[in-house]
Amino acid sequence: MIRTLRHNMIWGALAFSIIAVIFHACSLYSVYRENQLIVQLIAGRDVDVNNVVSGPPELRLARALYFKQKHRYDDALSTLSLILDKGDRHFQAQARYNLGNLYLEQAVEKVEAMHMNEALPLAGLAKQTYRQALALDSQNWDAKYNLEVAMRLLPEMDRVNSSDDNQNSQKAQFWTTVPGFPRGLP
């Protein structure tokens, strides 16, 4: 009786390990396929939307990057907004950083075209998303740099702990809300 039971258990262990082999092989193939799709999107070639819908958030991030490369900003925005709360903190920071870049790039384009009214809200959104990215990952140096770019584009109204700033607060508020980069030193 015990010998039969032991024998059956060995067969059971074999069946279990074969199922595990099949499961891991399928998972490995699935990861390989998804990585291929990510590489394809980064290279600038679109993929079937069904693969993206059922795929991991990294795939959507890659597709948003593809849309941005093609200047399809609305598609990129809608794709990124779907994954802002997905993944770990690092991934969330990465998604927010790319979203900030999306806003900032458009804001810079508007400034270059002298469409200040349209540039203002976009720069404000860019700053907000960079701040969110840095709150999630304070070591994201690209986000720090681009936040500074956005701050220079649209300086904050408040000045800090400087008596001169307090004296000229009204004047400072007026000028600091005009978007645009300083064109060199005086």
């Binding site: 024998h7 060995i10 067969w11 262990a13 074999l14 390990s17 595990a20 082999v21 499961f23 891991h24 998972s27 490995l28 990861v31 390989y32 998804e34 990585n35 990510i38 590489v39 980064i42 991991p56 990294e58 991030l61 890659a62 990057l65 941005k68 990465q94 950083y97 790319n98 870049n101 900032l104 790039e105 810079v108 384009e109 270059e112 701040r131 840095l134 709150a135 304070s138 994201n140 140096w141 690209d142 986000a143 720090k144 740099y145 681009n146 936040l147 500074e148 770019v149 701050m151 220079r152 584009l153 300086p155 904050e156 408040d158 800090v160 702990n161 980069f181 064109r183 060199g184 030193l185």
Partner: protein
């Protein structure tokens, strides 16, 4: 009058004992320079109060934006008896055009003893913030220079690789064991025939001579893959030439076995059993290749 004056002085001396609510206060701050936009700045405040004095945590700054350029990301209070450790984590979002001194605003911590309320002032703390970007505009080919998008990292497959390797090894080992059990490794089996036989014989006495002889017969039959009789020994040696050196011992074995099983009144002595064990030992050595 003089006595009254001395008494008053003594009373004043006694009433001048320290009755402040805080017995120890210390602020641990990091270096006050070398920060850039987005950096986090930790601050630790240690407060030890006198007995019966409690710190009012509601008087501490709330998590969230302090002002336009400063956020308080985390605040935690660890209280062990009269010892309070307050950990604050600020994050600065100011973009200076040149190195600039900024200040973390101080606040007042309220302490309560019964109906009385006291406070401990946490002073301002100043630090230098540096710009990341030059003042003059840097242009790239695409216009305003900014850092590029973060490309998504490829999905990790390490766990799946490990899982596949482990499960494959496990499946292979179990399958090999089952093959062994089902006799798919005859050569492997034939290498342990005399080992098993010897193990059985070692436990037998001369009264179990029939079992001992049967065991050796079974080992020889398994090796020959059919029942082996005395007259087939020469064919056996052709198939297994390494056992040729045991021809005289095997000859004795078959003769003895014939006499034991087919002759009545045979007396078994201990020496016969010892000789059988020695035969088995020699065969075991040949089997494992050491002779």
């Amino acid at each position: 009058m003089r006595i009254l004056l001395v008494a008053l002085l003594l009373l004043a001396g006694c009433s001048g004992s320290n009755n402040q609510a805080v017995s120890y206060f210390h602020i641990e701050t990091p270096r006050p320079f070398g920060y850039v936009i987005g950096d986090e700045i930790p601050q630790r405040i240690i407060i030890e109060t006198r007995p019966d004095v409690t710190l009012q945590t509601a008087s501490l700054p709330a998590k969230g934006p302090i002002n336009r350029w400063l956020n308080l990301n985390r605040i935690s209070v660890i209280n062990t008896g009269q010892h309070y450790q307050i950990d604050l984590l600020y994050q600065v979002f100011y973009a200076p055009l040149e190195v600039k001194m900024l200040t973390l605003p101080g606040f007042k911590v309220l302490l309560k003893q019964g109906e009385q309320t006291d406070s401990q002032i946490i002073p301002d703390w100043s630090f230098n913030l540096s710009p990341l970007r030059e003042l003059a505009v840097r242009k790239s080919d695409d216009g305003e220079y900014m850092r590029p998008d973060a490309a998504p990292s490829l999905l990790p497959n390490t766990l799946n690789v490990y899982g596949l390797v482990v499960s494959l090894c496990l499946a292979f080992l179990i399958a090999a064991y089952l093959c062994f059990l089902y006799g798919y490794f005859p050569k492997l089996l034939r290498r342990t025939l005399f080992k098993q036989a010897l193990r059985k014989i070692e436990a037998l006495s001369k009264s179990d001579m029939d079992q001992a002889l049967t065991t050796v017969h079974q080992a020889l039959n398994s090796l020959y893959r059919q029942p082996l009789f005395h007259n087939q020994l020469s064919h056996f040696f052709q198939l297994n030439p390494q056992y040729q050196q045991m021809s005289s011992e095997l000859d004795w074995f078959f003769t003895y076995s014939n006499r034991y099983f087919f002759t009545s009144g045979m007396v078994v002595v201990q020496l016969d059993l010892e000789k059988l064990k020695e035969l088995c030992k020699q065969c075991r050595k040949i089997e494992r290749g050491s002779q």
